[in-house]
Amino acid sequence: MAVKEKPMAQEVQKPGWKSIPIGGLILRGGSAEEFQTGDWRTEKPVWDGEKCTNCYLCWVYCPDMSIVLEDGKVAGVDYDHCKGCGICAAVCPPKVRAIEMVLDRE
């Protein structure tokens, strides 16, 4: 089967090995925010602000810092980075259950 070759143009625009920092370093902090990992998920947490008692357990346990706080209060989920592990739902106290995991199909 004939394979159509992709033009190289886009790649050429990226900097080459002579000009980028060595060792894969990024010369600033916090750049992980720009790498969106939210599309890896199969389930997503849905947070219910009515039920939430603001105990912070989900915020403490979330491995991806994806529980969003506003003015010191839990305000929802950062879906650009949440990987859908379900830890937040599991640690939310049984009497509260303010987070429910639902299939994420879009």
Partner: protein
Amino acid sequence: MGNSALNEAVKSVALTGNEAVANAMRQVHPDVVAAYPITPQTEIVQIFSTFVADGLVQTEFVPVESEHSAMSATVGASAAGARAMTATSANGLALMWEVLYIAAGLRLPIVMPVVNRALSAPINIHCDHSDTMGARDSGWIQLYSENAQEAYDNVIQAVRIAEHPEVNLPVMVMMDGFIISHGMENVYPLADEEVRKFVGERKPHYTLLDADNPITVGPLDLQDFYFEHRRQQAEAMFNADKVVKEVADEFAKLSGRQYDFFEAYQLDDAEMAIVVIGSTAGTAKYVVNELRAKGVKAGLLKIRMFRPFPAARLREALTNVPAVAVMDRADSLAACGGPLFGDLRAALYSAGKRPLMNNYIYGLGGRDVTLDHIRTVYQDLEEMLRTGEVKREINYLGVRE
């Protein structure tokens, strides 16, 4: 030996290889040493920890629970801007494996003495080179030593090579387990101040602890940039050639001892030569002298720098030697000879004139290499010269059948 014995510039001191290397480390005075003991390297860390306890160095000594952690802690310290060292042997090196590549990939100038020892199984604590030969493509510079003096000198030079801004790569310094590490020899150490001045302060470009200039170390590096970073590593290895020479020349001015990528011994007019790494070179030189006294044009080439492999220089040095025996103290188990044999043959492929070459796997698990063993190798070379044929390409020297 007394801890302060080396504080004065002394003419010579009787030291084991391990003592010599531990003292080189004391004089280099790294900021951090994280290590785990393993025979035959144990003494290096043990002696160094005594220096720490006695206040002779201000090094942060981290006694970790495994070699994987030793290398990981060393990587962390080095990324934080510290001059960091560790040391290991054999299975300890094997346990570091994953992190060896990380140290090289992050371009951290870590210096690690490795006391060569056979890998398990069967378990064996004695010398061969299979541990570090396995790590030859991990991106570390590798310097091998013939004796305690060379191990001492190589550790000091390694710091400068590793931290050179055009290199920024980790360096392993090897010596033969027990034969060198526990054998006592006369060593001519430098004075503490001389070493401190020679190695200077580490000047990292970026460090994790520089809060005003935050950096990210070890981020994900996918299809669009990983290749470029590997290309940079390759370039650093090409640059190392020049830097290793510069550092050796500067070290010669200080110590009177001139190092090179390899040592050519009676090689200029040689009709036959052995290529060898480590302590066996001493034994083989004795046989070369013996043969020369009889008028036989025997020579020897001892490899000091195995990574990067000085291929062009070796090609030049060996192209005019009609018969060459390559001695490997490690078997690649690839059914095509040892690692040095493979690299040397590749280096000579593009030579106008190529020697007849064969390979000897020898000394595995600390098996003694005697003068008689070396004599038989030169006898084989004589026959090779006479007949113009390589009778057997891969030979196992000193093994019972």
